[in-house]
């Protein structure tokens, strides 16, 4: 049997102290005290979740799937340029030009803070993939790209509902297809 111990000075002192404590305990009348020093570093943090707007279900306010989390779905239904066709009863549908229609729905963004003296936060958004030609994704009329975050707000208040409207604008020559986009929202404490 080959036992090998690699003890540095602090470990040796610790072992000796423990042994002394045991001996003292066995002596019965003696007392001893110990002190545990705890250290930590508290970091400030913020969280972002999406919530249904209080007007959810009415025109312009579709329900989110997984509302209350930071990963939600927003189904805008089926729409077409001719005849103002749209299947969803909760979206806002309109022709915005002679060649474009738009479908929009609003929801709320809630950003909370902890251990932070930050007075407010800024909000930005970015789409995940370049949309097909003739399709534009916007939030509150601000066009989003997949090349970087686009600023939406400079100073939103923590803990408050911030209503945002997701818009999809589709040109009348866009072939029939499913338009799917993941929009990432970024909140940064100021």
């Amino acid at each position: 049997m080959n036992c090998r111990f690699n003890l540095d000075g602090r470990k040796v002192l610790l072992i000796l102290s423990a042994m002394l404590c045991l001996l003292a305990a066995s002596a019965g009348a003696q007392t001893s005290s110990g002190q545990l020093t705890i250290t930590m570093s508290v970091q400030s943090s913020i969280s972002l979740v999406f919530q249904d707007n209080p007007s959810v279900g009415t025109t312009g306010f579709c329900p989110l799937t997984n509302a209350g989390t930071n990963n939600v779905g927003l189904d805008l239904g089926t729409a077409a340029f001719p005849g103002n066709f749209h299947t969803s009863t909760c979206v806002n549908y309109q022709h915005i030009t002679a060649a474009f229609y738009e479908v929009r729905s609003a929801f709320d963004v809630v950003v909370s803070k902890a251990n932070s003296s930050s007075p407010n936060y800024r909000l930005a958004a970015q789409i995940s993939t370049p949309p097909p030609n003739g399709v534009v994704w916007l939030v509150n009329n601000v066009t989003l790209t997949n090349t970087g975050f686009t600023a939406l707000d400079a100073a939103d208040n923590f803990g408050q509902r911030i209503t945002k409207t997701l818009q999809v604008q589709v040109r009348n020559n866009v072939p029939a297809q499913v338009l799917l986009e993941t929009i990432t929202f970024l909140a940064t404490a100021n």
Partner: protein, 187 residues
Amino acid sequence: MLKTYISIMRGAALAAMLLCGGSALAQTTATGVINGVLINKNGISLQFDTDPAGVTLGAAGTNAATANFGAVSAFGPLAAGVTRPSVTAANFTVRTIFDVQVIQGGLTSTTYTLTANLAAAAPTGLSYKVDAVTLTTASQTIQTNAGYNTDIAHNLDLVVSTAAPGAGGPAVGAPITTTINFTATAN
């Protein structure tokens, strides 16, 4: 030696302060994603619009409009937007103009064909024409190669027999209503 030690300690303290300060000013962020989905559908739609030279349509801008000629006669006054292009011993014709607009989206089609038919047989003493095509309950072509996304004017003629009621002429003094079905087909 002592100076060096003090210098090192000052440097360490400064670094620690800087680190602490950096920690306090940390850029705190949070992200969330929305997965938005819209199914874009293609197709065409048809709507009736009021022509500036015709009667004002009821429910203009929809695909279920109404055109009211008002009181028509061979010799009496006519409503605004109604003309009387011909009066013969056998019949007279009153005319109004209405617009059809067909809108397409997501198709490669550039033109459409318009057909029309009466929803039911024409009332006694009356016949209906769209652009000189006498309508029946069978579908007939009104226009081929019509362009999308623009108002296209069409004449709607009502040919009225001059015969008295009961003698082959239409009923008089009461509204006579007829429905015309239109279909636009993408070419």
